[in-house]
């Protein structure tokens, strides 16, 4: 139990007979960044609200940092930071005033609150606009203010719902760095997002939600293994005896498939990073290795392939 910041057992939420979340078993380890993926309406936000005690589960158990959000919501909310999608602030107040309100709601003594607010604004790079009204802020600035807002209560776990939606690429990149900072401070992070490459860039483990269930869970590599049966793709450009090179490549261990493109370009699909083995195989076939590049398992591919299969299955059932 101590190793998990979040643990749910058969967590369910029904709305008028419709199961928004269906027997969910979610475990998030201390100190990790956990990504929640899934199409719209797959129960991500409902799950998050149940973790915070903002919605009551219909069934099942939840533990967040060892507390039950249904009976001890204050203990949970005092230790968990939540940033909703499209976070809003009081526009007519300044950034600092917005944070002061949050500090007061958390019952933080004034001097300590001011110290934390300065530190948080510093960390997200908003010190120079601390006393400007939030109405003058850009979307990216508001989003960073949202992070400062989380830091005020010095959380052990933060939950971010679609934090990079609507940010320009630079803003999104900056935001991902903020999340890395959180992780470095020892804060566990749950990140719900549609933006797969960002999730892949930052998350230690991901869970794929579909129709209220977590259908896949693990590191990106593990998911690749499960869905794609591999996921490492080595692109080779080599001149020489095509037959021999193909034969040698096919003979390698952990190779799933070898394809030849054009004359002397090959693509090796493998279960792990096979670059050294591929190089050796080409050289042993007396080929001249020109380039060798690795494409790591790609979450977008996993996602697309998974739903391709699901849709295929459901089409079959329907037929």
């Amino acid at each position: 139990m101590a190793d998990f910041v979040v643990e749910t057992r058969n967590l369910s939420k029904h709305y008028d007979g419709f199961a928004a979340v269906d027997k969910l078993n979610l475990r998030v380890r201390e100190g990790e960044v956990f990504g929640i993926l899934g199409p719209n309406g797959s129960g991500k936000t409902t799950t998050i609200l149940m973790l915070l005690g903002l919605t009551e589960p219909t069934e099942g158990e939840v533990r967040v940092l060892g507390f039950d959000p249904v009976r001890q919501p204050l203990s949970v909310k005092a230790r968990v930071g939540y940033m909703p999608d499209q976070v809003g602030f009081y526009d007519e107040l300044t950034a600092r005033e917005n944070l002061i309100y949050i500090a007061k709601l958390n019952g933080i003594p004034r001097a300590e609150a001011y110290r934390r607010i300065d530190a948080a604004l510093e960390q997200v790079g908003l010190t120079h606009v601390a006393d400007h009204p939030v109405s003058t802020f850009s979307r990216g600035m508001k989003q960073r203010l949202g992070v400062a807002d989380l830091l005020i209560k010095q959380p052990r776990l933060v939950i971010l719902d679609e934090p990079t939606q609507g940010l320009d690429p630079a803003g999104a990149l900056e935001f991902l760095n903020l999340i890395r900072d959180l992780k470095r401070q020892g804060i566990s992070v749950i990140l719900a997002s549609h933006l797969l490459h960002q999730v892949q860039a930052i998350c230690d483990r991901v869970g794929l939600f579909y129709r209220g269930r977590m259908v896949l869970e693990g590191t990106v590599q593990e998911l690749a293994q499960q869905v794609l049966g591999g996921g490492y793709r080595v692109r080779v450009h080599a001149k020489g005896d095509t037959q021999a090179i193909m034969r040698n490549l096919r003979g390698l261990r952990d190779v799933i498939e070898v394809r030849q493109h054009e004359d002397d370009k090959y693509e090796v699909l493998a279960k792990r990073d096979l670059r050294p083995d591929v190089a050796r195989a080409v050289v042993e076939a007396n080929g001249n290795l020109l380039t060798l590049e690795l494409e790591e398992p790609n979450l977008e591919e996993i996602y697309a392939r998974y739903f391709e299969e699901v849709n295929h299955e459901s089409a079959k059932v329907a037929a």
């Binding site: 204050l74 909703p84 009081y90 309100y101 209560k153």
Partner: protein, 326 residues
């Protein structure tokens, strides 16, 4: 069900008031600095000064010796201006609705609701805090106007106010604040029901118009239905009148004007229908002591407060059940 019912009912940790004063402080600061509030304050201050100046003119011309001259400040009218009490009956609901109509839905529209409720507070604290902040703001404005009127009276009339009339004026202030409380609670209920602030405002103003304009007509028609006059007996006529009076008291503005009447006019001995036989032995024209006047309006006062609490409770239940996701 894996979670036994009894466990969930064992109650939740902590106090529902945690964080409430932070909400009150923030909301009051918002109210007092908002342009909307400043406009209303100017409006009410102007009407107060105008009405009271008119009243002072009349009082200085006509009344030489009156033990309750300060109460006359509130009740004397001089054409074309109505008395200040009349102004209040009209302005207090307006201020209360203006304070309350967007207090909950604006949090959803600004997308601050889930962020605020993710802090270690209960929803109770947020709703109570908002209601109290609005009520305090209303009380603050009304008290300021009240003091302004008394002050004007002291300067212009040059008579020191007496204890009894000050006590009556204070009770009148309290009644006015609770009269505002009803409309405030109503506006907040609508701000919970409707996500659009404009819809909530229109609904609240609609209810207010209904009670100020239409209810007196409707209550008369209803009285004819409920207590019809079949044979023309005096008992039947009395019964119908009584029914009409009781029905009209459903409207908060009727309750309020009767309270104002009894408290600000010490000579008023009864509200509603009085038969000559009930006045036998009474010395007409002599003022009642304050506690007798209060007894007269005690049901009205409790009615006002009860309606406020009831409306707030309705809003409270709805807010507790509301889904937080926008």
């Amino acid at each position: 069900m894996s979670r036994p019912k009894s466990r969930r009912e064992r109650g939740r940790e902590g106090s529902p008031w945690q964080g409430m004063w932070a909400v009150v402080g923030k909301e009051m600061a918002d109210n007092l600095t908002s342009a909307r509030m400043q406009v209303l304050e100017i409006l009410i201050a102007l009407s107060a000064v105008a009405a009271v100046y008119g009243a002072i003119q009349t009082i200085m011309d006509t009344v030489s010796q009156d033990p309750f001259v300060y109460l006359k400040l509130f009740t004397t009218s001089q054409d074309p201006l109505p008395a200040f009490v009349g102004f209040l009956g009209f302005l207090v609901p307006l201020i209360a609705i203006a304070l309350g109509f967007d207090s909950v839905n604006s949090e959803f529209n600004r997308r601050t609701m889930s962020r605020v409720l993710a802090q270690p507070i209960y929803r109770d604290a947020l709703l109570f805090g908002k209601f109290l902040a609005n009520l305090f703001t209303l009380a603050l404005v009304l008290t300021a106007i009240w003091l302004l009127i008394i002050g004007l009276g002291i300067v212009r009339l040059g008579v020191p106010p007496g204890g009894e009339e000050m006590a009556r004026a204070l009770w009148f202030l309290v009644a006015t604040i609770f009269y505002g409380g009803i409309w405030l609670a109503l506006a907040m209920v609508f701000s919970i029901i409707f996500r659009q602030p404009a819809t909530a405002a229109m609904a609240a103003i609609g209810v207010w118009l209904f009670f100020t304009v239409f209810w007196s007509m409707i209550s008369e028609v209803l009285a004819q239905v409920i207590s019809p006059i079949r044979y023309g007996f005096p008992q039947e006529q009395i019964a119908q009148l009584q029914t009409a009076i009781w029905l009209s008291r459903v409207a908060p503005n009727t309750l309020y004007s009767e309270i104002a009447l009894a408290i600000l006019h010490p000579t008023v001995r009864a509200l509603g229908l009085v038969l000559p036989i009930q006045l036998s032995g009474a010395i007409l024209g002599t003022p009642l002591p304050l506690n007798q006047s209060l007894l007269l309006v005690w049901p009205h006062l409790t009615g006002l407060i009860a309606a406020t609490i009831l409306l707030f409770a309705v809003g409270y239940v709805m807010f507790q059940r509301e889904e937080i996701r926008a």
